[in-house]
Symmetry: D2
Subunit: 188 residues, 4 copies
């Protein structure tokens, strides 16, 4: 059986970002889920405004290496003014082929009750252009400032269950496409 690798990307670089708690919770649940390899990536480590050019495809950047190895992606990201954070877009725009034919799940985060739902829609249109497969399921972390206690422990049991559904769907596509994605049309 092939190993499946699905990293988790924290998509905001703002100081005081509440989404970091959500991203760590998603990582912890993914490790507990145990059916795919994962690691937490921080957009802060990958984006600088000196690098706004799309990198050459052959450049062995760390992000390129990770996504080349990855079978899918989970993005944890807040909504800013109904859109995605600029730093996430800068990071996503650096690669192209590395994303193709791989599933992607999005976890939205907001201080309000809607959990970043508008941003998830806006982001998906770009993810389709990157030839990713956005799975239908999303997890919406709403009122993020109230979700964790002072020790960083999630107070609402329902999120672990919602993440299971997301993990199952991203993993399903990761497995269904893992071998297929490098096969030409004529080989089926």
């Amino acid at each position: 059986m092939e190993t499946i690798f699905i990293p988790i990307l924290l998509g905001t670089a703002r100081e005081g970002r509440q989404s970091e708690k959500a991203a760590k919770f998603v990582l912890q649940q993914a490790v507990s889920y145990g059916k795919f390899e994962t690691e937490l990536l921080d957009v802060r480590d990958f984006v600088s405004l000196a690098k706004t050019e799309r990198m050459p495809e052959n450049e062995s950047s760390r992000w390129s290496k990770i996504m080349t190895r990855a079978d899918g992606l989970i993005i944890v990201v807040p909504e800013y003014n109904h859109g995605y954070p600029g730093e996430l877009k800068l990071m996503l725009d650096q690669l192209y082929k590395e994303y193709n034919r791989k599933p992607v799940g999005v976890c939205g985060v907001s201080m309000g009750p809607l959990g970043g739902a508008r941003m998830v829609e806006a982001l998906r249109t770009s993810l389709v252009e990157l030839q990713m497969v956005p799975v239908r399921n999303a997890v919406y972390f709403s009122s993020i400032q109230d979700l964790f206690d002072e020790n960083g422990t999630m107070k609402d049991d329902s999120y672990a269950k919602k993440l299971l559904v997301l993990f199952d769907e991203v993993l399903w596509y990761a497995k269904a496409l893992q071998k297929a994605r490098n096969k030409p049309l004529t080989s089926f």
Copy 2:
């Protein structure tokens, strides 16, 4: 080898619809392509305002039967005020499970130069919710009123080539997902 079935749906019911020419052209090219079974569906035959309720899942409607059999879908549809025609949405909203884990390609149509590009984006967000896989490729029929001669023959050779790319990508996903889509996660 399994047969692949990918119907083509004309998504406007307006009188004098220019998109009918585009849809017939897409059908003709798909038949010539020859790698999947197809047929042309007309939204006029499937939608009435008396049927705005989502049909019961077990109801053996014609649309349900077609999509149950289908391995993917191609939609040919004009842009009205940057969105999709209401009749197309009424038709799509009638089903749910029948669409799941099947690829979908969209051909936009417009009288202007943009070929329905805004509508394609808007439609994709709903197609993801229907658990379809929107392929990255789209064909944009712009200035539709000038694209065909009086015999209905396409005057611009580039569209046949663009359709080949779309067909290849929809077919690739149709094949990659055909057997997988009914497999549970544990069976991989």
Copy 3:
């Protein structure tokens, strides 16, 4: 002082529509607000699939007459598969000039927790194309099936307050644009 007229449009025709309760509540609150004239319009009375053509601009249809007189519009509408109901789009696509330079507020409705937020975003892109001014504020009726008691009385006090903010903003633009909207650029 000029009278301001802002009708309220119920944008779903489905049988058993939960949104009817929300629309009636919005009407009742608007009457109680008392600062603009209003009436409740039902998409069922305006759309038939026989009329999918855009009507001639001079045709004195009832919808055209209402929007010609209107200074703004409030739409109460559920989200179906992250998009708007087809019947609402059919109705909106019938007119054009009648909408220009008038504000529009959207109240989303859903059975789930997000109150139709994705649909509101999708709808706004078409409302801009209709040359309307979508106000920032929206009211999201979430878990609509639990919001009203058996007498149809709203159980959650917060919605009346949210509607006040929406009314204020739509009314502000209605007043700011009422006289201006027929003035040519040179007359300022």
Copy 4:
């Protein structure tokens, strides 16, 4: 008569950005139009990843001062993967009240035939949240690499005409809202 000030913002920081030619052309046409004051702003001068926090509202940043004075905004920006450049979003997310009740026009730029049309739609949903008024008109600079000769002169006469329509509409709203925007609802 009040002066109207509508700056033009170049929304990409990429090296080799083709959009710079479009932005300079828009500036030149706006100066020639002569009905509002303007200046060209470059996103490079306003965004750094060290400043991803929304600035305090009272901070007298240069961007805040400009938008406080502005009566509207024109954004010239390319489409990257169907979305907006991250650096533009970082810049827009820095302010809030300074944008309220001011019109905004978007000029899209692309190497392909669609002139950034998908990005314009995605951007507008965030501009509405910023309480701006996105005008219906947009200018789509398509095949940007072929639009200017070696001296940077626009080769296609139609763009000057399209910009006139955009300027007229942004200016109309700038004038209609200039005095109104600080008036409370009760003052009308």
